[in-house]
């Protein structure tokens, strides 16, 4: 994982700092004055060799010093901390909601294999996979904000405004992120449970008098969790991407909005830090998924898988 993270920093540095040639003139545009350019070059340390700049940046990342944003003129770390209190709760709520919806549905569909409830659940799942989350978000906005006027169409009340107003502004974004995710997860859960349900030990458990429900929820589900957790891990990167889009649909002041503002203002310092932060999140989550395998399936412990 450490190596992957290191390579990620090299790639991001190469693409965003070496590729543009002179980042300072890239950020300021064609008609920049020479003295503003040299001031920015000095601020970014562009007078130093690339290798020195790279190590300074990585050491800074490790110590939490992410540099100063050019457009906002505040430390990037401050910007990120401010925004993460919107993005992180949104992502966590979406994961929780999608799991709570998907796993029971997947198990029910598997236990009623090829019956009408299975077909209905899988039909919805096909729809959920096909619908882009930002369109779903717009449909929710039309129904709940424009027509019914129950919920705000966008914006964030801020946690200072109280827990419930803040949660209310996260409600539609959470649902629009979670439902498409749960469609995929329900499918995976269903096929994983279907696979396990035919194993001998389930038949043995049933023969020993374990009820159908208990065999399903206690024995089959746990053994079906490996592919489910894998997909949840893989989905995390999609979820991050989804969060970026959804924040823009609902005008939420999170990491996703920040990255777009930074792109349109050509604030490469912020873009670079955010891209590495997002990639690091994906890499670390994938590592955690590997570790989780061993927790779920003791057979994998010590086999070098984790």
């Amino acid at each position: 994982m450490a190596i992957t993270l290191l390579v990620a920093t090299v790639v991001v540095f190469l693409v965003l700092e070496i590729l543009p040639g002179d980042p300072a003139s890239f950020m300021l545009g064609m008609e920049a004055q020479e003295d503003t350019l040299s001031a920015l070059r000095a601020q970014m340390g562009l007078d130093q060799p690339a290798l020195v700049r790279y190590f300074k940046w990585v050491l800074g990342l490790l110590s939490g010093d992410l540099g100063i944003s050019y457009t906002y003129d505040v430390p990037v770390s401050e910007l990120i901390i401010e925004r993460i209190f919107v993005s992180l709760p949104l992502a966590i709520l979406a994961i929780v909601l999608s799991t709570v919806i998907a796993i029971p549905l997947g198990v029910i569909a598997a236990s009623r294999h090829n019956k009408s409830s299975d077909l209905i659940i899988m039909g919805f799942s096909q729809l959920g996979i096909a619908i882009p989350n930002f369109w779903f978000a717009m449909l929710l906005t039309i129904v709940f904000a424009v027509m019914l006027r129950w919920l705000p169409a966008g914006g964030f009340a801020g946690w200072d405004a109280g827990f419930f107003p803040a949660l209310t502004s996260l409600l539609l974004p959470t649902v629009s992120l979670a439902l498409p995710q749960s469609a995929i997860l329900a499918r995976v859960t269903r096929s994983a449970v279907l696979e396990v349900i035919q194993e001998d030990y389930i038949r043995t458990a049933r023969a020993k008098g374990v009820s159908r429900g208990s065999a399903l929820w206690n024995h089959a589900l746990r053994n079906a969790m490996i592919p489910v957790v894998t997909i949840m891990g893989l989905q995390f990167s999609f979820l991050l991407a989804g969060t970026i889009i959804i924040e823009n649909v609902f005008y939420l002041p999170g990491i996703g909005r920040l990255i777009f503002q930074a792109i349109s203002q050509r604030d490469l310092i912020v873009v670079k830090d955010l891209v590495i932060l997002l990639s690091a999140a994906v890499i670390i989550i994938n590592f955690i998924v590997d570790v989780l395998y061993a927790v779920i399936d003791p057979r994998l412990r010590g086999s070098g898988h984790a």
Binding site: V7, A8, P20, P132, W135, S191, V271, V282
Partner: protein, 282 residues
């Protein structure tokens, strides 16, 4: 090969998903092709006098805030989606499949190296690579194709390697080896034809994902740029008018969802037909 094609087609006729998905997918491709020769109105026809017109004989799905015909824009948007998704798959399969075949043929450190780089690329979702690319090169359809294409490479490499490994263990490969064929020839003449069906199924899935990704990138303003219409960009424009004209948000989204649904059903059906072993687990 034509016989095999006929076989697949005939078996497909008895398969519900294949028929529904195939019909939607062909309609989508036909509409995209049709846009080259005919659209009800020109998409450059701006006529403020008829803005927000309701669906009628003249404007089948009504008009947008510039008085442009929505149906014509959807049709041209379909073409845009096809091109982006197609080229992105070309990049992904064109680079990914050879990499996967090499990894499976060579094993050892080559395999290890290719798969590590693969895992690494996978850690950058298309959106994040697109953000990096746009930050430097600016937004545009070509850049979104590159971003989606890069994301497709590890997908194809992984699936090609995984399925090729199994084929390498088979006896007819041993026979080919003892006949003196080298790794490259075996990979091209024996491995590739045997994993082709899996790759085709994966391509339909990636096609659907590519359409979703293109729509997402254009929605964010990172993809296709005006005046070229794209479903994602139409949704972006509809977003700002959501209180005034919510109907504008319906059609492009429906077009995306229908197309992706069609492709997914088609891919599912195709997989069932080409690989009956997988049927049980689904």
């Amino acid at each position: 090969m034509p016989n095999r094609f006929q076989e697949v087609f005939q078996e497909g006729l008895q398969h519900r998903n294949f028929i529904i998905g195939g019909t939607i997918t062909s309609a989508f491709f036909l509409i995209a092709l049709m846009s080259y020769v005919w659209t009800p109105h020109s998409i450059e026809d701006i006529n403020i006098a008829v803005k927000f017109a309701k669906p009628s004989g003249d404007f089948w799905l009504g008009t947008d805030h510039f008085g442009r015909d929505i149906f014509s824009m959807l049709v041209v948007g379909a073409r845009n989606s096809v091109i982006v998704a197609f080229v992105a798959i070309g990049i992904g399969a064109g680079l990914g499949v050879p990499l996967g075949l090499v990894a499976a043929a060579q094993r050892g450190w080559t395999d290890e190296l290719i798969m590590r780089v693969n895992d690494f690329t996978f850690a950058f979702p298309a959106l994040i690579s697109a953000i990096m690319i746009t930050a430097i090169l600016g937004p545009g359809a070509v850049n979104s194709i590159i971003a989606i294409g890069i994301f497709n490479i590890p997908v194809f490499a992984r699936i090609a390697r995984g399925s090729a490994l199994g084929i390498w263990e088979r006896e007819f490969i041993l026979a080919a080896k003892s006949a003196g064929k080298g790794q490259v020839r075996i990979s091209l003449e024996h491995i590739l034809p045997n994993i082709l069906s899996i790759l085709i199924v994966q391509a339909t899935i990636q096609f659907a994902l590519g359409i979703l990704a293109e729509a997402g990138l254009s929605y964010l303003g990172l993809g296709t740029q005006p005046p070229a219409p794209s479903w994602g960009k139409m949704l972006k424009e509809a977003q700002t008018l959501i209180h005034m004209a919510p109907q504008l948000a319906i059609y492009p989204g429906l077009a995306i969802a229908m197309t992706v649904l069609g492709l997914n059903l088609f891919g599912d059906g195709l997989r069932d037909i080409l690989d009956p072993k997988l049927r049980r687990s689904r």
